[in-house]
């Protein structure tokens, strides 16, 4: 909800941000944190009195290629970080999703946004999520204090891990001003094995066999007929040194021969494919459909889709079947059907795309048990007692 009449505050430094927060707290004002705006559709719609922009908190704080760590301010465009890393042959391990294709937004995704949403992609199954790579942060809490947690080293168990707690908190606990990530070397090359015409269960079986093999698969997806081809396709990606990739692709072809594995994609074509999968590009249209992101045990993916039944308009699987993307009608009824279908399997469903009115009136995130809701409220209050930041972004009234 980009309410045009709402004032935007743009602190130029962490200290200035802290002062603005103190002022907002004193006046009882609520602030909605905004970055580049490319993911503005995530979570419940903003309910604040003013916007707090990270645009003035921009730049790489340090980059140590020899330690494989980078620290950037929240407002730094992700593209800027990725370009700097690419020059030294390194990358963020978790392959963050670009939401612009799904939302039709045009802003620049920022570091702060990917922290707020714990934004990860296909490589999450082998290299971890954003929350795994994030090893340090600084934030302004709702008391106007500057707090740090973690640091710049990978192994660190000094005190409570407020880094992970804030990664994926949708900005509800504080304004993260800078974040530090550990990195990976960019693989020398990649290739993707393709299997055609498998039905969902059989495809997930093939993905599971591959993920349980010693061939270090870094992407495992199954997409439906109509998503680029007239038939369903199953993909497995391997990355690394050329000789190793060649060997592992041929090993996987042999392993999955009973499933009809015959082809492999290379280079550009493989890269484009995984960007489409990671960005859920297949569900971009029709733009009025609701889009769900569901994480569950991989072998339950197809059972879940079967239970959703006709409410699922289109769907595909990433993470070996453990991440189901699906579109449905944008209605409370369809939403209830998705949640009901998931409940026997465990896991969690997030409503990623829907009109504001719908996201304001139903659960966007997986509903919490009573004890977890009590803890969520308590932790929110421990950071932000007056509810300055992103009020009600995750749960109504919290």
């Amino acid at each position: 909800m980009r309410r045009s009449g709402v004032e935007a505050l743009t602190p130029g430094s962490e200290t200035e941000a802290a002062e603005l927060v103190l002022e907002a707290r004193a006046k009882g004002r609520k602030l909605d944190i905004v970055g580049g705006g490319s993911r503005a559709g995530l979570g419940r719609p903003p309910e604040g009195d003013a916007r707090l922009s990270t645009a003035g908190l921009r730049g790489i704080v340090f980059y140590e290629p020899a330690e494989m760590v980078i620290c950037a301010q929240a407002g730094t465009p992700l593209a800027e970080v990725e370009a700097v890393l690419a020059q030294r042959g390194q990358m963020l391990p978790f392959e963050p999703m670009d939401h612009r294709r799904l939302y039709g937004t045009s802003g620049e995704p920022t570091i702060g946004g990917l922290v707020a949403g714990n934004i990860s992609g296909p490589r999450r199954i082998s290299a971890g999520a954003a929350r795994d790579a994030m090893i340090g942060l600084r934030l302004v809490n709702g008391r106007g204090e500057i707090v740090k947690s973690g640091g710049r080293v990978m192994k660190n168990v000094t005190g409570l891990d407020l880094v992970k707690l804030n990664c994926g908190a949708q900005g509800t606990l504080g304004l993260v001003t800078q974040a530090t990530f550990r990195l990976l070397p960019k693989p020398e090359c990649e290739a993707s094995l393709v299997i055609r015409r498998l039905e969902d269960r059989r495809a997930i079986e093939a993905l599971s066999i591959a993920l349980g093999s010693p061939f270090s698969v870094s992407g495992a997806a199954h997409i439906s007929a109509g998503m680029g081809r007239e038939f369903p396709r199953t993909f497995l990606r391997v990355e690394g040194f050329r000789s190793s990739v060649d060997y592992r692709i041929s090993a996987l072809l042999a392993l999955l021969a009973p499933f009809g594995a015959k082809h492999a994609l290379e280079g550009e074509e493989s890269e484009r494919l995984w960007r489409d999968i990671g960005d859920a590009a297949f569900l971009a249209t029709p733009s009025e459909a609701a889009v769900w992101r569901v994480s569950l045990a991989p072998s339950k993916g197809a059972d879940f889709i079967e239970k959703v039944g006709a409410h699922a308009k289109a769907h595909f699987y990433d993470w070996g079947g453990g991440l189901v993307w699906l579109s449905s009608e944008a209605s409370a009824e369809a939403a209830a059907a998705v949640r009901a279908a998931l409940s026997p399997f465990g896991g969690h469903a997030t409503l990623i795309r829907a009109p504001n009115e719908l996201r304001a009136s139903i659960d966007v995130f997986e509903p919490l048990s009573a004890p977890l809701m009590r803890l969520s409220k308590g932790v929110k209050a421990s950071f932000d007692p007056a509810g300055v930041f992103n009020f009600a972004r995750m749960y109504p009234g919290v």
């Binding site: 992970k164 090993a251 950071f383």
Partner: protein, 478 residues
Amino acid sequence: MSQIAFPTPEPGILARRDAILAGLAALLPRGSLITQSEECRAFETDALTAYRRAPLAVALPTSTREVAAVLRYCRDAGVYVVPRGAGTSLSGGAIPQEDAIVIGLSKMSRILEINLPDRYARVEAGVTNLAISEAVMAEGFFYAPDPSSQLACTIGGNIGMNSGGAHCLKYGVTTNNVLGLTMATIDGEIIELGGAHLDSGGLDWLGLMVGSEGQLGIVTEAVVRLLRSAEGARPVLFGFDSAEAAGQCVAAIIGAGLIPVAMEYMDRLAIEICEGFAHAGYPLDVEAMLIIEVEGCEAEMEAQLAKIQAIAKSHGVKIVRESMSAMESALIWKGRKSAFGATGRIADYICMDGTVPTSRLPEALRRTGEIVASYGLRVANVFHAGDGNMHPLVLYNVNDEAEQAKAEAAGNDLLKLCVDLGGCLTGEHGVGIEKRDLMRHQFNAEDLAQQMRVRAVFDPDWRLNPAKVFPLDGRVPA
């Protein structure tokens, strides 16, 4: 003479001992409550043996419900609680106090479910780290974090301390390998977090719980990720004439974008001690040695090793020895993993656990030597070099009070050094009591207060593991 303070036992709790024990006995099966002082003695310390406190009693519940019931009882009775796995903590994380009930998870050691298609295991918190890998080894799978104490330490303790091990350079530490857990709060509520799936649908409670050192609740079950073992693994020994050169070689390997599955460092004294114990064929005429392990298919190992060897050569490596057999590899790792035990045979020691940025390793090693020498003591360095997680073992005689004080002072200086070089106090052993009073060197008042306010949401009266992690003065209530 102990330097680390414990809270003064509350006379009001000690005076009610009989009534408290009677209340607990009603909640637990026969044989699950230890009250005799001789039997409690086995629980009075952990691997930080210089400190000992006898607990009021020890409860050994057999189910999550019993853990929850005991916790609620302790809250209502106003008694402190100290959780315990196998008692292998090097930071004193499981050391009790006179007015506390120890809740030990040793009777909850079952593997509840193994699911290879979905690549997870559901286990009780008292199961040992190694038992998980052993249960799936025949199918070619393993549980990745591998602390040196993995034969004894429990998954519950690993979660408490976010344990690492030698292979976390590639596979991450406990927090990257736990999918779900069941915990009981001090209020006696049972909470399920995560499950057989990835990531969280709300706040990252798993991320908060792992490494929280038993301050937020007691973990009773866990769902952990299982990984398929690589096709092959090959450790290679690299001997250097100086610590500096070995340290620089580590930084250069990481900087070149290579991620060997393990990269371990040993100095001359550590090599001598471990070789004397394990007869692994370590070179004895070098100042420093790296054990670098690569894994994967043959092509993968060859490509990695060629690059690593070239870097080592440019750093003046003196000896390179590749393992030629599975038996040789096992011996190489046996030597490394027995480092703490083997050191314990020749002297008492305290083991530090600070982490430094890998580019600062050479400097950290040099200053470590200088600091320990300035106290007139000896140090053996054996640690996870790839992630900068140092483990200087400061040798001393536990029966010499003055020497113990010196060793602790040297240890404190070493940890401050790690923080000053851009690292942290503890990489994988936890703060416990050992580093509690150094927390203000790494965190300022606002940082610590924020952590304590989060802690207080779970345990407003500070009943859980109260002497640990946060300095005893200036604690923030709910």
